[in-house]
């Protein structure tokens, strides 16, 4: 009897090939896990996201998230393959701490059928995010003005205002 644990694997793929490439990739990962008596609970496509920093000259990446049950050597095998596949930019496996629920997870496992095209849904929030960032920048500049005004006021005022300086 293998000792199974619950894992999650987040992978970043090159933003090429569209949904077919993602589905194909998920099938290959599923093939490895299933071949070693593991089971995928669910797979999610987070959409094409902007990376926080450049990875192998890429500024954007397709995020694919796997939630699965497997044993230690399986993780080793999956990671070995991810290192070989050139379209995988980066990946991170995390062991989740819920040993008690593994049997339940195996029962409720959906496999790679749970992979759906969420790119369309993700487009709208991305735009909102960008505008929100712009707004933040504006707010910061306004704050700076207000801050400067306060500072000058407090400087021009008499001794009693030392407390205000502390507060600023």
């Amino acid at each position: 009897m293998k000792k199974l644990s619950h894992y999650e694997l987040t992978t970043i793929l090159k933003p090429e090939g569209g949904m077919d490439a993602i589905r194909q990739f998920a099938e290959r990962v599923d093939g490895i896990i299933a071949g070693m008596e593991g089971k995928i609970v669910n797979v999610k496509f987070w959409g094409e996201k902007k990376l926080a920093y450049e990875i192998k000259k890429n500024l954007k990446g397709n995020y694919v998230y796997f939630n699965f049950v497997a044993d230690g050597p399986t993780i080793h095998e999956v990671e070995r393959n991810l290192n070989i596949w050139e379209h995988v930019l980066k990946f991170m496996t995390i062991k989740l701490d819920n040993k008690a629920n593994i049997e339940e997870l195996l029962k409720s496992a959906e496999g790679i059928a749970s992979l759906t095209d969420k790119e369309k849904k993700n487009v709208a929030p991305a735009i909102v995010e960008e505008t929100a960032e712009e707004e933040k920048k504006e707010e910061v500049t306004v704050d700076n003005k207000a801050y400067n005004e306060k500072l000058q006021e407090s400087l021009s005022n008499s001794e009693d205002d030392e407390d205000e300086n502390v507060e600023l």
């Binding site: 987040t10 970043i12 996201k49 990376l51 926080a52 920093y53 990875i55 990446g61 998230y65 980066k90 991170m92 995390i94 995010e129 407390d163 502390v166 507060e167």
Partner: protein
């Protein structure tokens, strides 16, 4: 002397339950514009949650959801 009201930990109050590296939008509130983790004396997060928070921010950095540094370029 200026006495200020003690800040309450956002995670202890039960409003924020999804403290996870996947929730990068939440974690963004706890890093500076330069990408540094905000100390808990500023953010008011309790010691226990600050440890969890720091761990999740570091995970999010690993998978490029959050930056390690933000430079002017």
């Amino acid at each position: 002397m200026v006495y200020r009201k003690r800040k309450i930990c956002r995670f202890c109050s039960g409003k924020e339950t999804d403290l996870d590296y996947k929730n990068a939008e939440l974690l963004k509130n706890f890093i500076t514009e330069r990408g540094k983790i905000i100390p808990r004396r500023i953010s008011g997060v309790c010691a226990m949650h600050q440890r969890v928070l720091a761990r999740e921010i570091k995970k999010a950095r690993t998978i490029a959801l959050l930056p390690f540094t933000v430079t002017g370029k």
